[in-house]
Amino acid sequence: MKKILSVLLTSTLALTACSSGGDDDTTATTGAASCAPSSGGPVTLNFTSWIPNIEDVVKVWNDSHPNIQVKVQTGPNGNGGTYQNFFNQLKAGNAPDLGQIEYDALPSFRVQDGLENLAACKPVSDAKDQFIDWTWNQVSFGEQNAVYGVPQDAGPMALFYRKDLFEKAGIAIPTTWEEYTAAAEKVKAAGGYITNFSQSDINQFAGLAWQAGGHWFANDGSKWSVNFQDEATTKVATYWQDLITKKLVSTVPPWTTEWDNAYNKGNAWTWVSAVWGANSISSGAPDTSGKWAVAPMPQWTAGGKTAGNWGGSSTAVFKGSKHPYEASEFAIWLNTSQEALTLLNEKANLYPATKSGATLPALSKGVAFYGDQKIYDVFAEASGQVAPDFTWGPTMTSTYATASDGFKAAVSGNGTLIDALKKAQTTTVDNLKSQSIPVAE
């Protein structure tokens, strides 16, 4: 009897799923219709992520939730290959239930119709108020009745610097970008580079433009507009081009052993990076333990209080998941519960996207690698200074690829960062058109 009932139930569920998938003229309603708990039997969910040691965090959930078991699969970071896998899996109809997607990639997945709208899932709608406003804005696209992922972490940016080297050379910690240039000259004289310009990871540049007030994309509901040449972005590009031309920054390819080496050997003295960068430095430059410190990001105007954001992910539920309710239950636990957030911070230095996250005991402790400085205080402050209205475009993977081709050319002396952004502009518009995504020219 029970069996028959469950078969009936699932088939009606499948029917509603079919019908909601059928009327795809109105995007607002799709997916929001069916989000009820599965009846009977334990549920197994697949979850793909590249957070270091995520397995340990998921194990805590699995141990206390015998009926909702989560299987983790790890992979390279999103643009490093996992997004491509997701797109292929969606095309083939075998995507996992849950996946890690950075905020900048959410529009790309939504435009490919790859995400389940979780607005109707009770665990998600109940948790809305717990998240920092701008992160919620990223997953809801500023729309009502739309939630395409659960915010996981934020990447407020600050200035990591080698305290010992700055002290030894008697250079003041720069608080404005103008001072940063001046410091760069002194660092160069002392035989180092103030930083390494990220030639192929455009996300850092996006964070810098975000701080300056740049807006690359806008979506008025009927059309996208693309603008890589607004005043703020141009200002940032001109600034860094100047440092590159004067050879005040090194241009080692990021995320390589060579790059780690530059920090480990003390060739690069600072890094304007996101909170999770704390982990990148400690794992990439282990010999420099205790020598680093964190200060707020340099400002464009003296006394200013603005910060950029670099990265930050959401946990999204893919279209076609049979258990959106359970998946969203897990996603909410992973990203709001104190035990999960503490673990994520311990294992991967993630900075929670929840408002109460800043008061986690783990985040108020000093960090040994940073000379016992309470570095998360700096990031908590930065988190409140991130402009909430930065919009990402729907083809970021290719935008990044084109921009990074241009940035790479610029650091090898062919063209400038401005040229690269111009190219990114035309290629992005072309790409949108080739996918019939409406775009204003």
Binding site: Q84, D113, S200, G221, S222, P253, P394, T397
Partner: protein, 286 residues
């Protein structure tokens, strides 16, 4: 009739796999390349509709793609003769009896081929990187990862990996030459060099032609090396080789355009290999 049945039994395993993993994907790619996506509104769901040759028009208008085709052709023009010349030389040396420890060298030359292409590329990438290389005397003076040299730095990797493989094919052809031919040459007073030039090389020509065709195909399909070198070098773009263009396009994801790129690339490879075969066959007929 029974003979035909027997034939079928022997062909079936190959035929099935060939159909499933070769013919079907090609058919699917061709189908994909003829479709395009339409949607309404900024986040409207996509519909695939028949688009005729629209994607192909995009392919032919795509400057970076044709640049990348030119790049691999230049690469092949230099790298394939160098690699096969080396392979031939090594095969002749092994066959000449001048070398002691023939078995050892045969294996030693072949070993790089056993290293997976990606691993080989990473290893060479480290050797080339100015700050990591143990050969600082070289990397300080020449930036092997710069725009001017990186193509040839990759050619070196490809050569290193495939010389031994090609040598083995040529060497086994050399072993198949009947002993009487050598005896006849000896009686006519031919020395080792003369024998190599007038007997061995002409007789292994079919093997050389075969390895050339393989190499042409391999060159046009370069992917692993540039993909790995992208992380090391600022000179390798996301459209550096045709296959890398296909890869980047499919990660947009624009599967239809990526399929069209692939079909054009396959046709180009086919045309080039076929032309080469025709060309060498005409030479042989003379």
């Amino acid at each position: 009739m029974t003979k035909k049945k027997h034939l079928l039994v022997f062909i079936l395993p190959f035929g099935l796999l060939f159909a499933a993993f070769y013919v079907a994907p090609i058919g699917y790619a061709i189908k994909q390349s003829l479709y395009k996506v339409t949607r309404t509104g900024t986040f409207g769901p996509a519909h695939e509709v028949f688009g005729g040759l629209e994607q192909y028009q995009r392919v032919f208008e795509n400057g970076p793609f044709w640049e990348s085709v030119g790049r691999v052709l230049l690469f092949g023009l230099v790298q394939v003769p160098v690699m096969l010349g080396l392979a031939l030389l090594l095969a002749l040396l092994l066959d000449s009896g001048l070398v002691k420890g023939r078995r050892f060298f045969r294996l030693a030359f072949f070993v790089p081929y056993a290293v997976p292409g990606v691993v080989a590329a990473i290893m060479w990438g480290f050797l080339y990187s100015p700050n990591l290389s143990p050969f600082t005397a070289v990397t300080k003076n020449w930036d092997l990862l710069s725009a001017d040299l990186v193509l040839w730095a990759m050619a070196n990797v490809v050569t290193w990996v495939y010389v031994g493989y090609n040598m083995l094919i040529i060497y086994s052809a050399l072993l198949a030459i009947p002993q009487e031919v050598y005896e006849a040459a000896k009686i006519d007073g031919a020395g080792p060099l003369r024998t190599a030039w007038s007997i061995k090389i002409p007789l292994v020509m079919p093997a050389i032609v075969l390895t050339t065709v393989f190499s042409i195909i391999g060159t046009l399909q370069l992917l692993a090396e540039p993909q790995v070198f992208r992380t090391f070098s600022s000179a390798v773009s996301s459209t550096y080789t045709p296959n890398l263009t296909v890869y980047s396009t499919s990660s947009i994801p624009n599967f239809n355009l990526a399929a069209a790129f692939s079909v054009v690339l396959a046709l180009a490879t086919f045309a080039l290999s076929f032309t080469f075969l025709k060309f060498t066959q005409r030479g042989a007929d003379k």
